[in-house]
């Protein structure tokens, strides 16, 4: 087997993986800490509907995914208010709608199942230059917002009421986080797959939380874990001829389980 870096497509795959492993935990940390992990699944299933829509009308599927994901997070926010203490229902309703929409729309696409399939499970080794640039822009946007709004995101994640009282525009920051979640899920669906992106949002953060000593170290560790999962996942999938998206998620799950078993409770 040739050297992994002798292929242009593998270099692009590594570049995309490294970038998405920076962006996903930046969004994943506040989502997990706000006990809102289900939004990843709900949004990614809606993104699939957008991908199907994009393929159907002939636009870039990621653009369709972004549009549908934004609609999904806005719908979740609206429904959450309606259900009050049972707000988790909102994510399930939107996820169900996303699945239904994907099933219906894919029936109208030529080679629909194979096209949709590549987005469901990811096709990182087949990403185009445009998609790599899109991933770079996403990473810059998410990392930039995380850096600039670091203290505001921490404050609303820890105690939203106290944050609002101190003058932080909590609703605006929440809205920005929701939008970034939608965009991250859409772009990452091409890389690790729409069905698995929520894992990349949640698993690195969950692993970091087991051993971290502060919010700051949780963020840094979750990015390092995400890099470990994606880069090692690409290596292993290349040499063992496995699907990269699934390999990345399985490595993450294994590391999480091992960390949980060996660490002493804080």
């Amino acid at each position: 087997m040739n050297n992994i870096f002798s292929y242009d497509f593998m270099i692009k795959a590594f570049a995309a993986a490294i970038l998405i492993a920076i962006a996903a935990p930046c969004i994943g940390l506040p989502i997990v800490l706000k006990r809102f992990s289900a939004i990843g699944d709900a949004t990614s299933h809606s993104a699939l509907g957008g991908i199907a829509f994009g393929l159907l009308i002939g636009i870039n599927p990621i653009v369709g995914a972004v549009l549908f994901s934004i609609a999904a997070v806005l719908s979740i926010e609206a429904l959450r208010k309606k259900f009050g203490k049972y707000s988790e229902i909102a994510s399930v309703v939107v996820m169900s709608a996303g699945i239904g929409l994907t099933a219906v729309l894919s029936g109208f696409i030529k080679n629909g199942s194979s096209n949709i399939n590549s987005f469901m499970f990811g096709s990182i080794v087949a990403i185009s230059d445009f998609e790599l640039i899109l991933t770079l822009l996403l990473c810059a946007l998410v990392a930039g917002v995380t850096f600039l709004l670091y203290k505001e995101i921490f404050a609303i994640t820890f105690d939203e009421e106290a944050a609002a009282l101190s003058g932080i525009p909590a609703k605006l920051i929440n809205f920005i986080l929701m939008l970034l979640t939608a965009i991250t899920v859409s772009v990452a669906s091409r890389i690790v797959g729409a069905l698995m992106i929520s894992s990349l949002l949640v698993i690195p953060t969950a692993t970091a939380m087991l051993i971290s000593k502060s919010y700051r170290s949780t963020l840094i560790l979750s990015i390092l874990f995400a890099e470990l999962f994606t880069v090692s996942g690409l290596f292993i999938s290349y040499y063992l001829n496995l699907r990269p998206g699934g390999t990345i998620v399985l490595i993450g799950t294994a590391v999480l389980v091992i960390t949980a078993l060996v660490h002493k409770r804080k």
């Binding site: 203290k151 921490f154 404050a155 106290a162 970091a208 804080k266």
Partner: protein, 244 residues
């Protein structure tokens, strides 16, 4: 001339089908300590939320430092009831939790600096928790956690401190420590409003009292009038209320 901190005039608030506050009025000046007593649902927390703008003030007025809350928020500290029931698994250090309340002095996009860390140290020193600043908040005892939340409220150097049941769910020794800290702050000139079910503890530290009971509220302004027996009688409905 007395330095007026808060003026509440004719404040009335109703939840759907339930009138909670009826025509409440009082004034507090620099250094006052107002204790608020009443049964669950009598309107104690509602009053705090109205002062903080967490509930809309539909009838009556609340003036803070001669202005409205949004313009003077950095001069007001708040320790909530739920500080006792926060997510203890949240991965944040004591320093990170306290520092979060410095937003009003920083504004958007500006990161924290060394001066902010100094203020955090000062606030933690006031509550005797400086040596714990790098500990995870969830690893502390209930009493220590509540002292951290008081430090969080103090870090913005407030002139008025509102506390909603700050000693709920805390062991007796910690309650005494916390009440001593609050009393010391008050003696230093800070104006304090506190709701508390522990009437004797509140009676010991406050110079003014609002008692919410079934048919209205009774306001005491003279410390000499405050006695446990009289308060118990009012809460039991045995005395005629001054305000109805």
């Amino acid at each position: 001339m007395k330095n007026e901190i808060i003026s509440v005039e004719g404040l009335t608030f109703e939840y759907p089908d339930t009138a909670v506050l009826k025509d409440v009025s009082f004034k507090l000046y620099k250094g006052d300590f107002l204790g608020i007593i009443g049964a669950n649902g009598a309107g104690k927390s509602t009053l705090i939320k109205l002062i903080l703008g967490l509930l809309p003030c539909e009838k009556g007025s609340i003036t803070l430092f001669g202005s409205e809350f949004s313009k003077v928020r950095s001069r007001i500290g708040y320790v909530s009831q739920k500080a006792n029931s926060f997510n203890t698994e949240f991965p944040a250090t004591v320093r990170e939790v306290v520092r979060a309340n410095l937003f009003s002095s920083k504004g958007l996009f500006r990161p924290f600096g060394k001066e902010d860390d100094k203020r955090v140290d000062e606030a933690l020193e006031l509550v005797g928790m400086r040596e714990y600043k790098n500990k995870l908040i969830g690893s502390l005892s209930g009493g220590q956690q509540q002292r951290v939340f008081i430090a969080r409220a103090l870090v913005s150097r407030p002139e008025l401190l509102l506390m909603d049941e700050p000693t709920v769910g805390i062991d007796a020794a910690s309650v005494n420590e916390i009440m001593a800290i609050i009393q010391k702050l008050n003696h230093g000139g800070m104006t304090i409003i506190m709701t508390n079910h522990d009437t004797p503890a509140l009676l010991k530290v406050s110079n003014k009292l609002l008692i919410f009971c079934e048919h209205g509220y009774e306001e005491f302004v003279d410390r000499a009038e405050l006695s446990l027996e009289r308060i118990s009688d009012i809460l039991a409905g045995k005395r005629v209320h001054r305000h109805e």
